[in-house]
């Protein structure tokens, strides 16, 4: 057997093993008990696939032969640089910054798929029209995912503070997309040599990638922060799809399978997120939510009743049951550790404490679950919307921390409200509601929250971490007095 044959055998076998390990790993990740081993299994698959890829050196074309040593050196350098920096950043970053980290890693994957397509296009390597169309499609999706994810990162990181919306933006975006597709169409149907090969047209290829990248930026700019769970999920699916398509072009089934599995999984997750907001995916992407004329709520009675953090803390200490509803404000204030400290005091005083998580609380799907887990909250105290919503009626205190729209009863009652129909946590049905909030501002959807004006609701103003500290001190103070 030739060296080429041996190399092909090794690469084929390890890629097959990697594809299996990815799917088996993802399967194990579907339960909290087996999940840590799931990512380890998938990691082993990735490691062997990367190592085996060095056997490609025995199977390179004649044009690459003289550059082989340099290419291997570049390859090792890129792996160490890219992998090392990303590994270091991923280990160091705060848990609250997780959504933007996932966004940036996702953009890198999309960029890699786009770059592979660029090598194919510039080298005119696609052997036929099918290959060329698939290459271009993967390049388009990968590029949009790269620039779109970077914008999502900038928004989540706070580099870009406000959604950028200009008049006629939708039409302009459509024009840019049509322009990109027109260039792609020209490459497919016109720029062919006699043998069906792509003519060398670097300017057009640059134009194609430029337009695709700009479209990704324009598409993401107008989308607001609270819609980021859906956006990150979409780009995750998009990168998977782009990787799968480039896998077809390279004739690598491992890329095809891994890419498509992620594409399908990401699509499912996107639909779940959109469903949780009672909006379609298209509505999230193409409507300027919150940009509509201000909605005047007709029937808000009562007034905002501020109360001291210490009083609220002591009230909860003597309650029988408390349900806590965390939102993005908890993450922004990094207050998850303090919150769990307070919860442990309540649990020690035999108060029943549960956490209620809305599917779109935070900036990526399930972000609140991860933050609470980081603080050490056992996951059997954490409940999802459908499992806990009936319990509010029989609960003494609902403690809302940094959440707003997900507890707005207008979603149930006010047909004119922009969030009407969205499933919400029925915090208003608890006997007493405390809302921890930075100030009197409105939520992301810019709607007045009737809950805050309800008779059974008191506001605790302040930074979530500072408020939790005051509550802890108040409850500890009680214990100290009793002991004295």
């Amino acid at each position: 057997m030739t060296m080429t044959g041996i190399a092909q055998l090794i690469i084929g076998a390890t890629d097959l093993a990697a594809a299996f390990l990815f799917m088996y790993g993802l399967k194990r990740m579907s339960s909290p008990v087996t999940a840590p081993s799931g990512i380890f299994v998938a990691g082993v698959g990735m490691l062997v696939a990367v190592l085996a890829s060095f056997f490609y050196v025995f199977d390179v074309g004649a044009a690459a032969q003289p550059h082989l040593v340099v290419n291997v050196g570049l390859c090792v350098l890129a792996l160490i640089l890219g992998g090392g920096i990303a590994w270091w950043a991923g280990r160091k970053v705060a848990m609250t910054a997780m959504p933007q980290m996932v966004a940036i890693y996702n953009g890198m994957g999309g960029g890699a798929a786009g770059a592979i397509a660029a090598v194919e296009l510039f080298g005119a390597k696609a052997p036929g029209m099918t290959q060329l169309v698939v290459t271009l499609l993967g390049a388009l999706i990968g590029s949009i995912s790269l620039s779109g994810s970077l914008i999502a990162w900038a928004k989540l990181q706070g580099v870009i503070k406000k959604p950028l919306r200009i008049r006629g933006q939708q039409y302009f975006n459509i024009l840019v997309l049509l322009g990109t597709l027109a260039v792609a169409g020209y490459l497919v149907f016109v720029a062919q040599g006699a043998s069906g090969q792509l003519l060398p047209m670097p300017q057009l290829i640059y134009l194609f990638f430029g337009c695709a990248l700009i479209y990704g930026i324009l598409m993401t700019l107008p989308i607001g922060g609270a819609d980021m769970p859906v956006v990150i999920s979409i780009y995750n699916a998009a990168t998977g799809l782009a990787v799968g398509l480039e896998g077809f072009v390279l004739g690598n089934p491992a890329l095809m399978i891994a890419g498509m599995v992620v594409g399908a999984a990401g699509t499912l997750l996107t639909l779940l997120m959109a469903q949780a907001m009672n909006r379609s995916v298209a509505n999230v992407l193409f409507t300027n939510f919150g940009g509509a004329p201000k909605h005047k709520p007709s029937h808000i009675k009562g007034s905002l009743k501020p109360t001291a953090a210490a009083d609220a803390g002591i009230f909860m200490r003597y309650a029988k049951s408390v349900i806590i509803i965390p939102g993005y404000g908890l993450a922004a204030a990094q207050a998850q550790q303090k919150l769990y400290e307070f919860v442990k005091l309540l649990l020690a005083a035999h108060v029943s404490v549960k956490f209620a998580i809305h599917p779109v609380a935070g900036r990526m799907p399930g972000q609140m679950d991860v933050l609470l887990a980081e603080a050490g909250v056992p996951y059997d105290l954490i409940f999802q919307l459908d499992d806990i919503n009936e319990e509010f009626k029989t609960t003494d205190v609902a403690l809302v921390i940094g959440a707003n729209d997900v507890v707005n009863p207008a979603a149930r009652t006010d047909k004119g409200s922009p969030i009407y129909g969205m499933p919400i946590l029925n915090a208003d049905q608890a006997k007493q509601v405390y809302v921890v909030k930075r100030g009197q501002g409105k939520g992301y959807a810019d709607i007045v929250n009737a809950l805050f004006y309800a008779d059974n609701c008191n506001m605790v103003y302040g930074d979530a971490a500072a408020v939790m500290t005051m509550m802890i001190e108040a409850v500890r103070g009680l214990g100290a007095k009793a002991a004295a």
Binding site: P32, A78, M108, N252, L268, L269
Partner: protein, 117 residues
């Protein structure tokens, strides 16, 4: 024996269809509490694109191809290594109240995890 892989036409569509179906079924059973690690985990899985980048770079015959190939491997490796790091950290935190609580700290690592890069 010939071990080269050729995928054409309908074979590709069959692979895509089955893989998409597998992804849909695997994710369909994941509880909402694991949505973030799962998204991050699937984000890691499409880091396999680094293998395609290595193929492109090792087959590069011009400086332009070397540059773009380098870029592809750099980004792909970042996707894979970063995705693994954050997913592993997140999953290490999940515990029930029955388990002895050793609080997951920031930067908590398992020494046995291999470093990719």
């Amino acid at each position: 024996m010939d071990f080269s892989i050729q995928i054409t036409g309908f074979v590709a569509l069959y692979i895509f269809m089955l893989a998409a179906f597998a992804g849909w079924v695997i994710i369909g059973h994941v509880p909402a509490i694991l949505h973030t690690p799962l998204m991050s985990g699937s984000n890691f899985v499409h880091g396999i694109v680094v293998v395609g980048g290595m193929f492109a770079l090792l087959n590069a015959g011009t400086v332009q191809e070397q540059a773009i190939g380098f870029f592809a491997v750099l980004l792909g490796a970042g996707n894979a290594a970063g995705g693994y790091a954050v997913t592993g950290r997140m999953l290490a935190m999940f515990q029930t109240s029955g388990q002895k609580t050793h609080h997951a700290k920031r930067g908590h690592t398992k020494a046995s995890h291999p470093k990719k890069g």
